[in-house]
Symmetry: C2
Subunit: 219 residues, 2 copies
């Protein structure tokens, strides 16, 4: 049987996995809100980000408490450091989903997304969901191999991000500046969301192996 | 006299202050590179970001080593946690300055910044420098009061960021989509740079008082 201390560490993992579920749901709903100009859904993403922040505050409090009481070493210490970083990144992913939802709300009842861009945004949303789903599994399973596999999805996201700019800068772009600004920001939010998912997965690698893969910083 | 352990903690503070100097210089040169379409200066920002990353890697290594060897408690533990977070934010600020420089390089020999935008970007660059200078002083002095004063500069940055959008979306904007995309991204980079500076200052407050002010998340 595990002692109370290790049960607290396990609970921390559970809270992080819960955060991944919340920020997955947030980006999923934000994408739909954006594509369908659904104000109600956008509002739900914006109001529910508080829940992510609340869990992160709890995670932080637990970590500081564990550090003060237990003076963790070796893998436990790595777990605590990794949890703090993972929590920070997941909290930020919630913010990014909220930013996407805020653009949907700002342009309602219009859609911020011109027809030519819809397929790309839909795909970015799907990749974001796939990434965070895999990240959640990585945290739960501590599977280093699958953590390293996230790179491929992140590359796919970067490719879609570049495709957005190609569409925006094409001579036949007919929507003018305002939608171009919206799409630029939205693209950036998805791309950053993916980067943070990869960072979280890298912290799983750190937790298990003691060393962290270099984060790519292409953009 | 201080023991070796506390000398190591002091050295950590010194390394973080050094990071603030490097990312201050980076954003300063990136702003000039952008406004003067100075390719040489842009390249220097891009190549020198490695130095920031290198120092951060050292800071991380020192922290993990201290945690494993010393099992720090109370204010020392807070110093270590805060240093890890501050280092993460400062490293990101270096990336953001690099992103600004990359846009300058991409548009060279043209300037990415139309004349109507120059004054606003110049001011954003100045506020960014002021923020990071104050942040550096806060880290060195552990002055909670001045750490909390950074909010005013951050508000000024947000105001300039909004002004950018007003100019971009005005009916008399005559530069089309590409410069609008550049300016949108550049504005975002400065605004995030300021956010990270405030986060670092908030970690000084945490370090001294044991609790951290809430980060604003207006955008």
């Amino acid at each position: 049987m595990r002692d109370a201390y290790h049960e607290e560490l396990d609970a921390l993992t559970g809270r992080l996995v819960e955060m991944t579920r919340l920020v997955r749901s947030a980006i999923s709903r934000a994408t739909t809100a954006l594509l369908d100009a659904d104000l109600h859904l956008a509002e739900s993403v914006i109001s529910q980000d508080e829940e992510v922040n609340r869990i992160f505050a709890e995670v932080e409090a637990t970590i500081f408490d564990l550090m003060a009481r237990q003076q963790p070493v070796a893998v436990d210490l790595r777990m605590i450091i990794a949890a703090l970083r993972m929590g920070t990144d997941l909290e930020r992913m919630g913010d990014l989903a909220e930013h996407v939802a805020k653009i949907a709300r700002l342009r309602h009842p219009d859609s911020a997304i011109p027809p030519e861009i819809r397929a790309t945004i839909l795909e970015m949303g799907q990749i974001a969901e796939r990434l965070i789903t895999k990240t959640g599994s990585c945290i739960a399973s501590r599977d280093v191999e699958s953590a390293l596999e996230l790179e491929a999805d992140d590359d796919a996201m970067d490719k879609l991000h570049r495709r957005l700019f190609t569409i925006l800068m094409a001579p036949d772009w007919k929507y003018g500046v305002e939608p171009a600004i919206d799409v630029t920001l939205i693209g950036r939010y998805y791309e950053r969301y993916a980067d943070h998912a990869v960072r979280v997965a890298h912290d799983v690698v750190y937790l298990v192996t003691g060393s962290r893969p270099a984060d790519s910083n292409a953009f």
